[in-house]
């Protein structure tokens, strides 16, 4: 009985069989190798949005891959999350910018050794009208005091990233605790660097950003650099191999090859040659 119904139905829809064929083929095609290049010998680097958003890895990785034939997969998250992911064993190399946290990571045994890799600096950006007169500030602390004093909008990363940690350290050095104003003039976005800049653009807010992201950021609109070139705004990046004794699956050999290349002559030259809008974004400073 069921078969009779089936036949009748099939007959009536015969003209659709071609379309069914197309659909079926599409589904079958989709099932072909998904996990082919999954994992394998590829290296996983836990890194930051500030490096990834500037296009740094698009410049560096092809050079390294060409030299050593090792595929590098970069996961770009905030420094805090990158360190936590590495502690969980979900990465072979850590490339971040929060020196004291990095040293703690190594001391606790999660990483083998920390190397200085490169640096640039942070900037305070804000609306061109500059209502808090940051361009007249004498120091970073003075600049932040003007922002909190005038209660002008400030967009904070609020995501435990390297830039966020730096920002909190700067507030603390200025003797200001902005947390009470959270939701008021102090807006914690909980997002990556570029996303936070987009928000700052939308709100006409001040913001602390790293220079690399800022230079390559394409949606500046009314935002402009208002305070820069000050030693406290120094931004150091470090590179660490995750300890294979803590996580036996860590691809230590490839990881060490990557680190040796990055802190060696070829890698340091590659870092120096990375330019956006005619400007150098990262300055190599690994000690030989």
């Amino acid at each position: 009985m069921y078969q009779r119904i089936l036949q009748v139905k099939l007959y009536r829809n015969k003209r659709n069989s071609l379309l069914y064929g197309v659909l079926l083929a599409a589904v079958l095609l989709s099932c072909i190798p998904l996990g082919v290049n999954a994992g394998g010998d590829a290296l996983v680097v836990q890194s930051t949005t500030s490096t990834a958003n500037s296009g740094f890895y698009d410049h560096i990785l092809p050079l390294f891959e060409k030299a050593h034939g090792i595929k590098v997969n970069v996961v770009a998250v905030g420094t805090g999350q990158a360190i936590r992911n590495a502690i969980r064993g979900d990465g072979d190399v850590l490339l971040v910018h929060a020196e004291s946290d990095e040293k703690q990571f190594v001391q606790a045994g999660w990483g083998l050794k920390r190397f200085d890799l490169m640096f640039n600096d942070f900037l305070l950006v804000g609306p061109a009208a500059d209502p808090a007169a940051l361009s007249e500030a004498q120091s970073v602390s003075d600049a932040l005091t003007r922002i909190s004093g005038d209660e002008v909008l400030f967009a904070s990363r609020g995501d435990d990233s390297g830039t966020h940690k730096k920002e909190l350290a700067l507030w603390s050095a200025a003797g200001i605790d902005p947390s009470g104003a959270s939701g008021g003039w102090y807006r914690e976005t909980g997002s990556g660097m570029g996303a936070t800049l987009n928000i700052a653009v939308g709100m006409n807010a001040y913001c602390l950003t790293d220079r690399a992201t800022w230079i390559s950021f394409a949606n500046k609109r009314g935002l402009t650099v208002l305070y820069e070139d000050d030693p406290p705004l120094f931004n150091q990046y470090g590179i660490i191999l995750v300890n294979p004794k803590k996580h036996s699956h860590v691809n230590a050999q490839a990881g060490q090859t990557f680190i040796d290349w990055m802190i060696g002559e070829a890698g340091q030259n590659a870092i120096a040659s990375f330019r956006r809008a005619g400007q150098q974004l990262f300055f190599p400073n690994a000690s030989p």
Partner: protein, 240 residues
């Protein structure tokens, strides 16, 4: 608004040039989401049919649970799958984190409740519609389920579409378990998020336009298979 028109220009020039990176990203998006839809159909159709036809203790609870799981935020699913697949998680030894397979798993979790809930509803309605017919021919349960699935195929196609739409458009889960790795786990939505955070809003929007065109094509294909409303009714009237 001029960004939107220039986004369209970028979108069409990318499509016209068959940009290799774009094709790779689009291809991965489709494959991951189709695979997830296929898996969730395998799980969800029998489960939905069982809940629709069966009368067993806990059935009411299952209905409520599957209905509420439809509203599960992708980012929570992503987090759960991340914790499971992370090296220190229970399935860490498989080394699946940051692979397309991990993305398929996350999306399968995401859309299976949708398939179960919608399939249950479709089949339940048909089942009560055909109740007398089934009673009159004393059909076995297996044939009953198969007949209902076949008769409800157009309704179930909408279920597939809903699942596919949810899978291909979500970003929260694949971002966490895939890691948005270039040439490995980057899909349309994570690429859009990345370009947005680079401040390249026009390229991000262009990718969004391409994603919408893709959805349009999938829907068009299914609309061609499905008979029109009046045709469907005539069909039903002629048979019964």
């Amino acid at each position: 608004m001029q960004e939107i028109s220039s986004s369209f220009a970028i979108a069409f020039s990318l499509i016209g040039a068959l940009d290799a990176d774009l094709m790779e990203i689009v291809g991965l998006s489709i494959r991951v989401s189709l695979f997830a839809v296929g898996l969730s159909l395998l799980i969800g159709l029998p489960a939905g049919a069982a809940i629709a036809i069966g009368r067993f203790p806990g059935r009411f609870g299952l209905i409520v649970i599957s209905n509420s799981l439809m509203g599960m935020p992708p980012v929570v699913i992503g987090l759960l799958v991340y914790l499971g697949l992370s090296r220190t998680g229970p399935f860490g030894v498989l080394g699946l984190l940051y692979t397309p397979t991990a993305m398929v798993i996350a999306q399968t979790f995401l859309i299976t409740p949708i398939v179960i809930a919608l399939a249950r509803q479709t089949i339940e309605e048909l089942n009560s519609e055909y109740a007398e017919y089934f009673a009159s021919i004393a059909i076995s349960l297996r044939y009953r389920v198969m007949t209902l699935l076949w008769e409800g195929r157009y309704g179930l196609m909408t279920v597939c579409l809903a699942g596919f739409g949810r899978a291909i458009s979500e970003v929260g889960a694949v971002m966490i378990v895939g890691g948005n790795i270039d040439h490995l786990t980057r899909v349309m939505t994570t690429a859009i998020a990345l370009e947005t955070s680079k401040g390249d809003l026009e390229l991000a929007m262009a990718l969004g336009i391409i994603l919408m065109l893709l959805a349009l094509m999938v829907n068009l294909l299914l609309a061609l298979i499905r008979p029109t409303e009046s045709f469907g009714k005539k069909n039903a009237a002629a048979t019964y």
